[in-house]
Every structure is written in C-alpha cells, then in structure tokens.
Amino acid sequence: MAKIIVVTSGKGGVGKTTSAAAIATGLALRGNKTVVIDFDVGLRNLDLIMGCERRVVYDLVNVIQGEAGLNQALIRDKRTENLHILPASQTRDKDALTMEGVERVLDSLSEEYDYIVCDSPAGIERGAQLAMYYADEAIVVTNPEVSSVRDSDRILGLLASKTRRAEQNMDPVRERLLITRYDPNRVDTGDMLNLEDIQEILAIKLVGLIPESEAVLRASNQGVPVTHDQQSDAGQAYADTVSRLMGEEIPLRFHQAQKRGFLSRVFGGGRR
C-alpha cells in the first residue's frame, strides 16, 4: 500500500509544485517507488518543473474518463529511477475530475508504488479538495508572510474535516509544515515572520525549512528538480525534508543568518 501525500497550501505561488517535484524526486532517489500527480487541471506546471513537458501524451483526465490506460499516461522520469509523473490536462478544467475517478487511479497506483505525491492546485475549491481527499499525510507549504500563514491555517481546517480520513473517523491526516522561501537575514530585520511565530500559529510539526535560494528558480527553468542540485542550500534542505518524511530525526539547517566572512564581504559573494 502506498502512502498518499498531498502537497497543499491554499495560497498560490508559495512553492507547492516545486516542493512536490523536489520531494518526489528525493523519495525516489532514496529507493522508494514514487509517482507524482499534477492535480492542477487547466494550469499544468508539474511537467515543466520535472522537465518532461515534451513527452506528455495522455494525462490524468484521460485516465479518469477512460480514454487512456494508466500506464499510457505515466511518464518515466529520465534522471531518476523509480520515479513517474502523471501530468494534468491543460485543456480541461477541474470539473473533469470525479471523486470516483480519482479514487480508482489512486487505488491502482497504490498497488505498485510506495509513495504517491499529489500536487494540489491553489485555492480551497473542488480541485484542492479532490487532491487532499484521499491523503494519508499532508505537507502544508507556507511562506513566511501573514497571508500565506492564514491560508495555510484555513487549509488545515479543511484537512481536519474534508478528507476521507476525517469523514470516516479514521486516524486524522498527518499534517506537516514546510516553510519555503525563508530568508534568515530578512527575518532578523523584521521583514519576514520568523519560524517560531509561524509554528505557534499553525501548531503543527515542522517537516522542513527551505531557504530562499537562487537555485530554485534555476532548477524550475531548467526542468530539473532542485533535489538534484546537492551543492545548493535548497537542494540539501529538500533532501533533509525527505529524510524527515521517512522518519529520520535531522537537525534543522539554514534557519539562521550566515555570518559572512571577510572575503565574502569584500568580494560580495552571494548565495549559491
């Protein structure tokens, strides 16, 4: 039985798709059979981030509507063994997804994979609710700003009530906080909310903290999940996140401002 993880946030643009791609890649690199599904029907992005946009033939909607088999739609990742991508449709909208269809797809994937990562669309409407409905675990992606924190709070309310686990009185969805775009220097100057404040408001366990990093934008545009860039801070932070997801205890990194050395100050060395 696969573990179903939804990557969600409420707010758009906080890094759901980047995180879903990076985490799925990290899980696969650690030897887990992993599939990552794009639930953002109509605004397909995951294929770009994963660098497989030229190989999309069939998509999630085709599978749900019986126009294609699951194996026809699954795209094997070129860089990582054990990793498959199920893209969303760009020409349809979220009404094309049905609860039963999603359940059928997840059930058959469950038999073959260890992890199913669902990349949720933004918002709290039908698309987002379908992406979270069958989840066992949720990764709530939050930026260190008040609007993102409030939207994450709202999503946590939905996770506690609008999921299969809630409706059938099973153990609740395990909720984990992933803070992205964290800049310790701007936290110190008071421009950004700090880690403790975010955790105090949302009151869930932290699974990872990804620093604001140039590596993320570069990775997105190149279509290579940032987990592959193990020289970068963000790549390492996602690798840590994956370790924690797999149950390891890893100390937090990248949450404190780096003291810049003399040479770095003179020559203005930037972050990697």
């Binding site: 709290i124 009530s161 609008k162």
Partner: protein, 248 residues
C-alpha cells in the same frame, strides 16, 4: 462603540432579547374546560389578566388536531393575549401561522441541540470543519473545545458558555450565548451574549482579537488600546461600552 450607526438614518435596529413570558401549559385540548379554569383564575387574581401575552404550550398533548382558533378566542375573552404556540406537529405549526401566531419547537428538541455539539446557526461546512479535533463534551448547554480553531472555522455555544482550550486564529469566529473563555491566544473574532445577555464576558490569555462583541456592542482590533494587546484580559460590558481590563 455600539451598533447605533447613525440615529437619523436607521429606522430600527434588531436586538436579541430575553423577555419574561408566561407559558400556558395545556393539559387538555378541550376549550370549554380551559374556559372554566380561566374564569376561576380571573376571579382570584384579576391583576394578572391585563392582556398578558402568553405562549400556548401543547407539548403535553398528543392530539394531532387542536381547536386552536377556539382556544385563542377563549384566552382573549379572559384578557390573555396568545402570541405563539410551542410544540405540536406540522399541522399545529401551520394553523398557528395561519392565525398570525409564532411557533416554537418543543422544548426537548431545543434542549437536546447543544448536546449534539454543533452550531445550527453556522453553515454546515463550518460546523463540520470544527468537528474533527474537538472533544466537545456538553455542559448544561455550554461547550468545551480542545485544539486550534482555525481560519474560516466557526464554533458556537448557542445556549451557554464556550470554553476553548487552545488558540483561536485570525479569521476564525467563536460565538456564545453566555461567556467566552479562551485558554490561549485569541486572534479571531469573539462574540459573547449573542442572544442579548449583557452580564457575560470574554476572557482570554493573550488578546489579539480582530473583533470583540458583547450583546451587539463591539470593539475592533483598531479600537483596542495597544497596551492591552498580548495581555491576559477580561472584557465586560458597562453602559454600552466594552471595558477591557488586564487580569493578573
């Protein structure tokens, strides 16, 4: 600050109120027996029968049909003014409405409602949302909730006090007919005395509330003295003003 926006502009304001009301508990559906007993009472205490408003309670009767019109006429003859009917089935409800009377559901049902734990004046979604991490043992119409009340959730105790053991986040709303107690930070909206009770309060360990309201008199976050933000406080109503004072 109160809801009196501008006296000249506003034709009326709605206020929740708890008025003393005489309930006439009928033990029979026979208007003639009622008339006989009323005549006796009228002789004993004529002062009581001054067009006194009464609610006719038919809960103790199991008659599906009732000569409601005749009963009302009997009451009026004895200077009682029937204003509403309580209990009975759909037929009685319809005839009450047809006579221009109000109708209240039977008392058992209303008393049972808070025990089910859910707010009926909230949307079904909000009510369901708050369900999961609550333990909600009912306490004489009051309610205890453990956990975080999150943005978009609404939690209410329509018949008593509401106690939250945890945080109330921004964008959440908690309402109670009685007092509101928050053992944690209060960042959302808190409304006490929603049916008009003025002798109630809002208590919290860390005040950051978006809105505080007692019996319709409210203060917004902007109106709260910054010195009080983050403090452990008690909020009470006196002369249509919310007073906030710190608790030690």
């Amino acid at each position: 600050m109160s809801l009196k926006v501008d006296r000249a502009e506003v034709a009326f304001t709605f206020k929740g109120g708890m008025l003393p009301m005489t309930v006439m508990e009928l033990a029979t559906a026979d208007p003639e027996r009622v008339a006989t007993q009323l005549a006796g009472k009228l002789n004993q205490s004529p002062a009581f029968f001054q067009h006194t408003p009464v609610v006719l309670s038919v809960e103790k009767l199991d008659a599906p049909h009732l000569a409601l019109e005749r009963l009302c006429a009997v009451c009026r003859e004895h200077k009682l003014l029937p204003v509403a009917v309580r209990g009975g089935g759909d037929g009685i409800k319809q005839s009450a409405w047809a006579l221009g009377l109000g109708w209240f559901p039977p008392q058992e049902i209303r008393a049972a409602a808070p025990a089910s734990g859910e707010a009926h004046d909230t949307g079904a979604e909000a009510a369901a949302e708050a369900r999961e991490n609550s333990e909600a043992p009912a306490l004489e119409g009051g309610r205890i909730f453990r956990g975080t009340v999150r943005s978009g959730q609404q939690l209410s105790a329509p018949h008593g006090d509401l106690v939250i053991v945890g945080a109330v986040n921004a964008g959440a709303e908690i309402l109670a007919a009685g007092s509101v107690h928050v053992y944690g930070p209060l960042r959302g909206r808190a409304l006490a005395g929603i049916h008009g009770s003025r002798e109630v309060g809002i208590f919290c360990q860390e005040l950051h509330a978006e809105l505080l309201s007692i019996a319709g008199n409210y203060k917004r976050l902007e109106d709260i003295d910054v010195e009080l933000l983050g403090a452990n406080v008690e909020v009470r109503l006196s002369e249509d003003q919310l007073n906030i004072r710190t608790l030690v």
